[in-house]
């Protein structure tokens, strides 16, 4: 058997494993997917919002917090030396709402630094972290509080949905966010949630203090914090009934920049927690292998792709130049081999299974609007959009090696 066939089979095996893994969890828990624990104890909650040049979204974001149907003790807005009108807008909001407190950084501290600074002003049992371009639904916070009845719960997070999904690139991200939310919930059943994302995450304040606050050196502080809570054996919970809407990049270059940042942060986190490889917790059992495997599969897949591409280019170049030399018909005029190999069937089957999985996610998550858009869109998401990831991974690795790590 050729080495390329072996690689192909390994990829298919791993893909099939995760598909079955998620489906098994789903079918066992499908009736409880949207359930969440009732509030039996009242907790005081404060919010921390780090902001940097968010003049377009901060007002709406703060209003969505003020409209929540769970009492909020304080909203600490940390202005990280914005250069636009963000501070002015916040000051106007502060005048109208006594819950809002503005903290201004004299110099840019980055997101983690701003979060840590904001945490200094929080005295409540729970603290919710929100991005300035995110908009929690009215009952989203209330639906997360019940999880904290369990003392071992360190963080609870809602499902994140895309606010703006009209443009094609936004639609693709909207589908992606739905699949991520669904699979994250499924991972929650096996204690394997590996990120509690920035748009909204409610932490137990004393746990954040115990683990030492956010890592200022990591550019994806949410991933790093989730791994740290896992290391300290705190549970990470997710509620699909609690919803937050977030603004996603609507231009390719912004999207690319965001994804590179996510990958760089992921790499930073893998390196930071490599010593956990043999510890007996979910980092070593699932999270670290899962991240590392994703990384390896992306890179190896891309190297194989380039190998085949370059080989074919050289072959066509040589064939053409030899043909020209003897003034023979170009090789391109020869018939194309249309016979399908078993691997073609395997690839097609994997594509169908991937489409089924995505379709199921959109159905379970009641996203009819996204699901019922034409088949081409979903096909593009599966074949093109997801195929871009290995390229982003490679760029990220290059930047990581060059130590070009910035927000």
């Amino acid at each position: 058997m050729e080495w390329l066939t072996i690689i192909y089979l390994i990829y298919a095996f791993i893909g099939l494993y995760f598909l079955i893994f998620f489906l098994l969890i789903y079918f066992r828990n499908r009736k409880s997917l949207f359930n969440y624990p009732k509030i039996t104890e009242k907790y005081e909650v404060s919010f921390v919002i780090p902001v940097y040049n968010e003049e377009k979204s901060i007002k709406d974001s703060l209003n969505s917090l003020l409209n929540l149907d769970y009492p909020i003790k304080k909203i600490v807005v940390v202005n990280d030396a914005s250069t636009d009108n963000t501070e002015k807008i916040i000051k106007e909001m502060v005048k109208k709402h006594k819950e809002i407190k503005l903290v201004s950084n004299s110099k840019n501290l980055g997101k983690s630094g701003s979060l840590n600074k904001g945490l200094e002003y929080v005295k409540t049992e729970l603290v919710a972290i929100v991005d300035a371009d995110s908009y929690p639904e009215k009952d989203s916070l209330k639906k997360l509080i019940g999880y904290f009845n369990d003392e071992k719960v360190g963080v609870a997070t809602p499902a994140i949905f895309v606010k703006n999904s009209n443009k094609f690139i936004e639609y693709l991200q909207a589908v992606e966010y739905v699949v991520i939310a669904w699979t994250r919930k499924l991972l929650g059943y096996v204690d394997a949630i590996y990120v509690t994302p920035g748009p909204l995450a409610v932490y137990r304040k004393k746990v954040l203090d115990e683990v030492g606050g956010f890592d200022i050196n990591n550019i994806t502080e949410d991933i790093e914090m989730t791994w740290r809570l896992t290391k300290y054996k705190y549970k990470r919970e997710m509620n699909l009934s609690s919803k937050v809407y977030t603004t996603v990049p609507n231009k390719f270059k912004h999207w690319l920049k965001q994804r590179i940042r996510w990958n760089l942060g992921g790499l930073q986190t893998i390196i930071k927690y490599k010593s956990e490889t043999f510890s007996r917790n979910m980092i070593s059992y699932f999270i670290l292998p899962f991240f590392t495997l994703s990384l390896l599969m992306g890179v190896v897949g891309l190297l194989v792709f380039f190998y085949m591409l370059i080989r074919n280019i050289i072959l066509h170049y040589l064939s053409t130049s030899y043909s020209v030399a003897i003034q023979s018909a170009l090789i391109a005029s020869q018939g194309i081999n249309m016979n399908a190999s078993v691997l073609n069937f395997l690839g097609f089957s994997m594509l169908i299974l991937g489409a089924f999985f995505t379709f199921l996610a959109l159905t379970v998550m009641k996203q009819k609007k996204l699901r019922n858009r034409n088949v081409f869109n979903l096909g593009f998401y599966l074949i093109v959009y997801l195929s871009v990831y290995p390229f982003i991974m490679l760029i990220s690795i290059y930047k990581f090696i060059k130590k070009d790590i910035k927000w």
């Binding site: 058997m1 050729e2 066939t5 298919a12 095996f13 099939l16 494993y17 995760f18 079955i20 893994f21 098994l24 969890i25 066992r28 828990n29 059943y189 096996v190 204690d191 059992y285 699932f286 080989r311 050289i314 072959l315 040589l318 064939s319 030899y322 043909s323 030399a325 003897i326 003034q327 023979s328 018909a329 090789i331 020869q334 081999n337 016979n339 399908a340 190999s341 078993v342 691997l343 073609n344 069937f345 395997l346 089957s349």
Partner: protein, 216 residues
């Protein structure tokens, strides 16, 4: 929740089972393709025996060159098409080597055809035999590109003079003794190579242009 952690190995077992079933189906699929070729091969084998017998008959009774040559050319064309299809399928065969065996059988058949052609030529020299030797197993990119051009050029020449040329492509590296002996006999050391009428050897792209000059 702790009970749900069994899902990690349960998913693994299910994946292994599905994978084994899929793998077995793949092998079955490829083997059934090879089975189709067995039937074709038996037909071709009968045709060759017929052609050989015809040649033997003509060696006893008066030889009708036109008939013998035509029969050989027709048969060569037939197995050329079959083995081109076989080559295409073999390229797509990933799990088993069942088509490799079919390929060897066709190579033996083509050597037999070549020998028969040499035999006919002794009495009927007015036609051309073009034997194309190529590398089947792991050719380098350069070799593959050359082979593409060689086979395309020979295909064009064959199209131009269909009734005058017997084109016999032979994979020279399949480890068959009969092929090795013929290689040694005609000093075929480089692949790809073309042997025209058992006396002119072409080993380079540049020499390919001269092939028409060597034909009768």
């Amino acid at each position: 929740m702790v009970g749900q952690k069994h899902v990690f190995w349960q998913a693994l077992i299910l994946t292994v089972i599905i994978f084994i079933i899929g793998f077995s189906l793949g092998i079955y699929f490829e083997s059934s393709r090879a089975g189709d070729f067995n039937e074709l091969f038996i037909e071709s084998e009968i045709n060759l025996l017929d052609t050989k017998t015809l040649t033997d008959i003509y060696s006893v009774i008066d030889l009708e060159c036109e008939d013998a040559i035509q029969k050989n050319i027709e048969f060569a064309d037939e197995i050329y098409e079959e083995s081109s299809y076989l080559d295409a399928l073999e390229e797509k065969s990933k799990f088993t080597n069942s088509l490799e065996i079919a390929h060897k059988r066709y190579d033996v058949l083509r050597v037999l055809l070549w020998i028969n052609t040499i035999k006919i030529k002794e009495k009927c020299p007015n036609f051309n035999s073009v034997v194309y030797f190529y590398q089947l197993k792991d050719p380098s990119i350069e070799q593959k590109a050359k082979q593409n051009v060689f086979s395309q050029a020979l295909f064009e020449i064959k199209k131009e003079r269909a009734d005058e040329i017997i084109l016999i492509p032979i994979a020279a590296d399949v480890g068959l003794k009969s092929i090795d002996i013929m290689n040694n006999r005609y000093d075929i050391n480089k692949l790809p190579s073309v042997l025209v009428n058992e006396n002119q050897k072409i080993e380079t792209i540049d020499e390919l242009e001269e092939i028409r000059d060597f034909l009768k």
